[in-house]
Amino acid sequence: DMKVTQMPRYLIKRMGENVLLECGQDMSHETMYWYRQDPGLGLQLIYISYDVDSNSEGDIPKGYRVSRKKREHFSLILDSAKTNQTSVYFCASSYERSGNTLYFGEGSRLIVV
C-alpha cells in the first residue's frame, strides 16, 4: 500500500521550543518534499530532498532545517519555533520517473503560541 505517513498530526508548541515533524514513505521514492500551506498563500516549498543526505533549499527555508538519513524518512526541524511558523505542513514523495506525481501525507498542523 503506497503511503506517506506524517507524525504528529497535531502539535502545539510555545515560541522558542524545538519542533520535530517526521515523515515516512513505504515506496522507496528518491525524492521527498516539505511544504507548508497557509490560507491565501497556497503551497510553499520549504525543502526538497533528492536522496539520503542530498537536500536542497526550497523557496522558504529560513527557520527550518531537514534531515534525511534513510530513504524512507524525511524530518523537518524547527529550532526555536516562531509564531509565524504556525501552519499546516505537508510531506510528499515522488518517484522521479513518474514525472509530476506526488504522494502527500495527511499533514501536520502546528500551532506556535
Binding site: 497556497g42 505537508f90 510528499a92 509530476n100 501525507g105 495527511e106 499533514g107
Partner: protein
C-alpha cells in the same frame, strides 16, 4: 521560471452540472502538468497528469484535462459533478530538468445539492 495561474479562487455549481477549472502556466521548455484534489483536512491527492501525446488526459472519478500549447493551458473538466467533488483543486507544473514542482493557488469547488 515556471508559474502557474488558477484564475478562479472559487467556483460554485449544482450537482449534475458540468464544470471547468482553469489553469494557465508559463514555462519555456518541456513540462509535466498535473492536477491534484484536496478535501478539507486532508493532504493532496493526484488526479491526472500530462507530458506528451494525446492532449486530453483522463483521470479518476470522471475528471479529464486538456493541454493546449497555444493557450498555455491545462484546464480540468468534469461532465457531471457530485457533491463529493467539493474540494480544493490544485494545478501543478514541473520542468523536465529538475524535480521542482510549482503549484497554483488552488480553486475551491463547491457543489450544491
Amino acid at each position: 521560471t515556471q508559474t502557474v495561474s488558477q484564475s478562479d479562487a472559487h467556483v460554485t455549481v449544482f450537482e449534475g452540472d458540468s464544470v471547468e477549472l482553469r489553469c494557465n502556466y508559463s514555462y519555456g521548455g518541456s513540462i509535466y502538468l498535473s492536477w491534484y484534489i484536496q478535501h478539507h483536512g486532508h493532504g493532496l491527492q493526484f488526479l491526472l497528469k500530462y507530458y506528451s501525446g494525446n492532449p486530453v488526459v483522463q483521470g479518476v472519478n470522471g475528471f479529464e484535462a486538456e493541454f493546449s500549447k497555444s493557450d498555455s493551458s491545462f484546464h480540468l473538466r468534469k461532465a457531471s459533478v457530485h457533491w463529493s467533488d467539493s474540494a480544493v483543486y490544485f494545478c501543478a507544473v514541473r520542468g523536465n530538468s529538475n524535480n521542482r514542482i510549482f503549484f497554483g493557488d488552488g480553486t475551491q469547488l463547491v457543489v450544491k445539492p
